[in-house]
Every structure is written in structure tokens, then in C-alpha cells.
């Protein structure tokens, strides 16, 4: 008689105990504060909360390192000396970093780096359209001098090393691309310190509500870190691809292309924001260009040629250093000027050489 009652009581008590225990657990969870993402939170700050280890941090133990000096080097080519007395010599007699690199944002969507979107953004925001990748978010990238650079020059030790080492990448650019002097340790750290002022923030990622929630929930519940990290990584590229166009094929502009107003406008934007950035007023090159028909006719004759001086070759391969003239023009990878954009430029040059301004 009492055996059945005992079983029921036992089972019922067990069930009640489980219910009580679950309530207790829930109360423990609700005591942790909800994490809210702020637009000004840095991406690396969120990463660190999600368990990632910060890379490329500045070595502040070196004397004289400062972001201000780094900024000076980037914009002016020199800075105050390590001890603050006097100024250093110019890093390069030919270039400043801003000759080839922007410093701010270049795209609306950092995950979509098409050169067409880049040009649109440049026109909207009055930016140069340059061969090098912007320094904005550079400390959020994992690799440098990618793809084509490694394929073509990866056998050179410093180029191979620069792929994964930002300091080597800075030094490589200073000595090879800019044909300047080597940067000292404190100068490299100062440049890196300036780069850190340009790191990505949450507002740069254009996260939607779901994305933000995923990150907030992860940091609140200490769960699903991987999902949160992937959410962030999906919104920007951690490397800047660089595909060289090795196909040295000259394009002949068709009549239809020549009359295409959209192509003309794109070509005009590229000419003014890219070519003239270095060549107008002999800013970075002794080969000067302007908006005169002389310049367009000269470029037109180059676009009809083959060989090292042709427009196509110069855009895709750059120019070469010569004896007594070390500085050379850097090439445009396809991600920085697509094949279609090069045709746009040709369309613009052909029309302007003939005196046809299609915007009028």
C-alpha cells in the first residue's frame, strides 16, 4: 500500500527539486550585465573581449615613439628627431606616403573592395584614387604585399617577410617603393602608432541589428564567440588583395565605347584623381600632365603604342627605375584599377585629345 505512494512522492519531489534548481540557475544568469556595442568601440577592443590576441602593437619601450611623429612622416616625409631636437632628413626625395596611399576610409562597404565602388566613394568624398591601399584599418589586416607581390617577388626575403610582418612591410615600402632611406626603429614604431589611430571601429563595419545583437549576446552570455568573430570578419577584409594583370594586351577603344558618357565620366574621375595626383605640376614626377590637349594627345599616342611607354603597360606594370633615376611609378593591381576602368581612362583620353568633352 505505501510502496506506490513512496514512488509518487519520490518522483514528485525530484521533479520539484529540478524545477527549483532551474529557477536558481536562471537567476544566476540574469545577474551579468548586458553588453551594448558602441559605434566608437574599436574592432580590436571587441576582438580582445572575444578572446583574440592583439597583433602589431606598438613597442612603446623605444624612446621617442609617438603617433604625432608617425603622422608627420606619413604626410611630410620627415618628423622631429627621436630626442625632439631638430628634424630628421626626408625619408624619400621622391615620394611621401600620401603619394600612393590614402589615410581615411575608401569604401562604404569594407567587405566589398571592387575598384568601381572605390572610385564611386572617391568621387563622392573628393578623394584621390591611388594605387596603394589606404592606411585606414591597416592594423586590422593580417597580411600585406599580397597575391601578385608574393607571386612575382616572394623569392626576395624582405618581400616574403613583409607578407606577415607589418614592420617589414613599412620598411619595404620606404626603401623600395619610395626609393628612400631605411626608417629607424623608432620611426617605424611611430608610423605604427599613427596607424593605430586609424584602426577600425564598430561604426566602420556597417553592422546591421542582427550582427550587433550577435556580438552583444556573445559578450553578454560568454557564448558563441566564434559566431561573433565571424560576424565581424564578414564585414571587412583582413587583407588587401593585389592581382597583377600580366596579360599585356592593348585594348582598342570601339566607337560605342568612345561615345559612352558613363565611361567618359569614370575616365575623367580616374584621370583627375589618379594621374593628376602625381603628375600635375610635377608634384611627384618630372613627367607633367594637365588638362591641356597636349597632354591628352601625348597620352593618346602612348595608348596606341606597345612596349614600356604605352599606357596599358605603364598602368599594369608601372615604370622601371633607370640609372640615375631611381624613382619609378607603381603599378595598379586589378583591385585598384579594373580592366574596365582602364578602358574608361582610354575613352576619356581619346575624346579629350580630339577636343570632345562628352559632359558638355
Amino acid at each position: 500500500m505505501f510502496g506506490g505512494f513512496k514512488k509518487t512522492t519520490l518522483l514528485g519531489s525530484l521533479g520539484l527539486a529540478v524545477v527549483f534548481a532551474s529557477f536558481t540557475l536562471r537567476q544566476d544568469n540574469s545577474s551579468k550585465e548586458q553588453f551594448y556595442l558602441s559605434d566608437d568601440d574599436t574592432v580590436w577592443g571587441i576582438y580582445e573581449k572575444l578572446g583574440k590576441i592583439k597583433m602589431n602593437t606598438v613597442n612603446t619601450s623605444i624612446e621617442g615613439v609617438s603617433a604625432e611623429k608617425g603622422r608627420d612622416i606619413i604626410y611630410n616625409g620627415s618628423s622631429a628627431k627621436q630626442d625632439g631636437n631638430g628634424r630628421t632628413s626626408n625619408q624619400s626625395p621622391y615620394f611621401k606616403c600620401t603619394a600612393c596611399h590614402n589615410v581615411g576610409r575608401e569604401l562604404n562597404d569594407l567587405a566589398d573592395i571592387s575598384s568601381e565602388k572605390r572610385l564611386e566613394y572617391a568621387v563622392e568624398n573628393d578623394l584621390p584614387f591611388l594605387q596603394g591601399t589606404t592606411f585606414h584599418g591597416i592594423v586590422n589586416r593580417k597580411t600585406f604585399y599580397n597575391d601578385g607581390y608574393q607571386k612575382k617577388y616572394g623569392h626576395v626575403p624582405i618581400i616574403k617577410a613583409s607578407n606577415t610582418d607589418i614592420r617589414q612591410a613599412i620598411q619595404l615600402c620606404a626603401t623600395q617603393c619610395a626609393q628612400g632611406r631605411e626608417l629607424e626603429d623608432w620611426e617605424i614604431e611611430s608610423v605604427l602608432a599613427f596607424y593605430w589611430t586609424l584602426e577600425l571601429k564598430v561604426k566602420d563595419l556597417n553592422l546591421d541589428a542582427d550582427g550587433k545583437k550577435a556580438i552583444e549576446d556573445a559578450l553578454t552570455t560568454d557564448k558563441s564567440y566564434a559566431k561573433a568573430i565571424h560576424t565581424i570578419e564578414d564585414h571587412f577584409l583582413d587583407k588587401s588583395p593585389a592581382t597583377f594583370d600580366e596579360e599585356d594586351k592593348k585594348h582598342t577603344v570601339t566607337e560605342a565605347e568612345k561615345k559612352d558618357v558613363k565611361r567618359f565620366k569614370n575616365g575623367k574621375a580616374i584621370y583627375e584623381r589618379s594621374c593628376l595626383h602625381c603628375h600635375e605640376g610635377r608634384r611627384y614626377s618630372f613627367f607633367d600632365l594637365d588638362n591641356s590637349r597636349f597632354s591628352f594627345k601625348n597620352l593618346l599616342s602612348r595608348s596606341h603604342k606597345s612596349g614600356n611607354g604605352s599606357l596599358h603597360h605603364v598602368a599594369r606594370h608601372g615604370t622601371y627605375p633607370l640609372a640615375g633615376k631611381r624613382a619609378y611609378m607603381p603599378l595598379y593591381p586589378l583591385e585598384k584599377m579594373s580592366k574596365s576602368q582602364l578602358v574608361d581612362l582610354q575613352v576619356y583620353i581619346e575624346n579629350m585629345a580630339a577636343g570632345n568633352d562628352l559632359t558638355k
Binding site: G281, R282, F287, S292
Partner: protein, 314 residues
């Protein structure tokens, strides 16, 4: 007359004080007109252009002998149309301290009474023409000082120039110039340059102070090739009317002062500027050719000259 010159000088100074700010490397330069002239010189005359900051310009200039002296083929063939002699040779460097200020030093053989000249020059561009025409002209001020390093001849019966009776100061010649230029479209540029020359030592019939005006022009033919012209018109009755006859034996009995005129073409290869010109002036530096040109174009007394300029970024 002295008051007039003072007035003119003061006017220029006042203009300098009221000019628009010049461009610098860090300011966006798109709104300025570039390359009114391709080089810092137009044949002999200084142009309104200055070198960019930290650019070193190495220059070699040469003026050959008379091409067709007295229109005599025998004379021409003897000297192979002047190529076998050198009326003047210039070697020098110029350097851009800022985008608007340049300095230079040249060594020239000299074609006038003073030889072996070392010339120091400075040029400051204080006004730049803008594309929207809010500033329609470019202006620059230039000054140069030439010192003759030729050996003094102790023979007092020789040419007075050779003995420098007044001491070292007799070796000096100065020039001050104001360049006013405008680029008309892509093809044509024009420059007018009031110029003052002061020579410490002159012949008894001459004046120390000389006021002249240079006119220079460029016609761009292609991106690379341009035609250049310059002339210097002296406001000096002796030179303007060709009534002045330098009596110095070295010049010859029938010598008269002439207006220096030159025409030529220049080739810009990017980094190099080559000029080839025809001019009646034998000297290259303004302190030399402006006061001392006596050669007559109508008598075939013009010469081929060339200038090579190579720029380096330092």
C-alpha cells in the same frame, strides 16, 4: 630721373606687400596655373618659374661663334658656322629652397669686357596665376650679382677693365628683375620683365645704371616641344638708338650697341630641358649680355646656342 626710379622701386615693393599668398607643397595646387614656361630661363632672360623645393637643376649653356659673320661664306666656313668657337660657356646649378624661392650659382666665360664671371642669383615667386583667373598673372622677383674673377692686368695702358683701378668693387655687376607673366590657354605664354643693371665700372661715356625691359614668349607646339623668344629693350638712348659707339678697341671701331634678341625651341623630356636657340647676344648672364650686346643680326652676327638643364630631386 633718380626720383622716377625710386618711385618705380617703391611701387614694386608695395605690390609685393599686397600680393596673394603663394602656394606651398602641402596646399592643394590644382587651382594654380603650372608651367607658364618650362624652364627657369627663356633663352637668356630669366623666366617667372622657380624650381620645386629640394630640386637641384644642373645647367650647361653654350653660345657658339657668329654663324654668318658679315654674310661671308668664307668667314662662315672658316669657323664652321661658329661651331669652332665659343662666345660664352655657362656651367651652373640652381636649387629650390622652397617651391617659390630658388638660388643658383653660375660660372660663365663672359662675352663682354668682364670675363670669368661667377654669378649668384636668387629668385622669389610671390604671385601665381590661378585657373579661375582670380589672379591673372604670375610674378617673381630676381636678383643676381656677378663678379669677374679675371686676372688684373697691371699694365695701366691696357683696357681699363683689365686693371680694375677702383679695386675689387670694379669687378661687380648687379641686376634686379621683376617678372610679370601670364599663360594664355595651353599654347601661349608672355612675360615682361623690367630690369635694372648696375655696373660698378663703366666706360666714361656710359652710365652705371641701366634700365631695360625684357620681353619673353613661348608657343607650345606639342607637349614636348615649344618655341621660345626673348628680347631686351634698353631704356638708354645710347643703346636704344644704336647711337652709342663703344670706343673700347676690343669691340672694334664700328661697334654699336644692339638689342639682344633670341629665338629657339625647347624640348622637355621630363627631367631634362634642352634648348637650342639663335641669338645675337654672345653673353649668357643678364649682367653680361644686357649691357654688352653689340652684335648685329642683319650682318649675320647671330649664333647657335644651347642649354641643357637636368633636374634631380634631393
Amino acid at each position: 630721373m633718380r626720383q622716377f626710379y625710386l618711385f618705380v622701386a617703391l611701387t614694386f615693393c608695395c605690390n609685393i606687400a599686397t600680393i596673394a599668398p603663394v602656394f606651398s607643397q602641402d596646399k592643394p595646387q590644382k587651382e594654380y596655373v603650372y608651367q607658364t614656361f618650362k624652364d627657369t630661363r627663356v633663352i637668356n632672360a630669366y623666366s617667372v618659374e622657380t624650381l620645386q623645393k629640394n630640386v637641384l637643376d644642373v645647367r650647361i649653356g653654350h653660345r657658339f661663334g657668329d654663324f654668318f659673320n658679315q654674310w661671308n661664306f668664307e668667314n662662315a666656313w672658316t669657323s664652321f658656322f661658329g661651331f669652332e668657337s665659343a662666345a660664352d660657356v655657362a656651367l651652373g646649378v640652381e636649387y629650390g629652397i622652397t617651391n617659390n624661392l630658388m638660388v643658383g650659382v653660375h660660372r660663365t666665360k663672359g662675352a663682354g669686357p668682364l670675363r670669368s664671371l661667377i654669378t649668384l642669383l636668387a629668385k622669389y615667386k610671390f604671385l601665381a596665376q590661378t585657373k579661375d583667373n582670380s589672379m591673372p598673372i604670375s610674378m617673381a622677383a630676381a636678383a643676381s650679382m656677378s663678379v669677374s674673377t679675371m686676372w688684373a692686368d697691371q699694365n695701366n695702358n691696357s683696357r681699363v677693365y683689365n686693371s680694375f683701378p677702383g679695386g675689387f668693387g670694379n669687378r661687380m655687376v648687379y641686376s634686379a628683375q621683376l617678372h610679370i607673366a601670364r599663360k594664355f590657354g595651353d599654347i601661349f605664354s608672355l612675360q615682361i620683365s623690367p630690369t635694372f643693371i648696375w655696373r660698378n665700372l663703366v666706360d666714361y661715356y656710359d652710365t652705371n645704371f641701366l634700365m631695360t625691359t625684357s620681353i619673353a614668349a613661348k608657343v607650345q607646339v606639342t607637349k614636348v616641344l615649344g618655341i621660345i623668344f626673348d628680347a631686351n629693350i634698353p631704356f638708354n638712348s645710347m643703346r636704344l638708338t644704336s647711337s652709342g659707339k663703344p670706343t673700347d678697341a676690343a669691340f672694334g671701331g664700328d661697334a654699336q650697341y644692339r638689342i639682344p634678341i633670341g629665338i629657339g625651341f625647347e624640348i622637355d623630356t621630363g627631367g631634362h630641358i634642352f634648348q637650342i636657340n639663335l641669338t645675337n647676344s654672345a653673353g649668357i648672364e643678364p649682367t653680361d649680355y644686357i649691357p654688352n650686346t653689340i652684335l648685329d643680326i642683319t650682318k649675320g652676327q647671330f649664333r647657335i646656342g644651347f642649354t641643357i638643364s637636368r633636374s634631380f630631386r634631393m
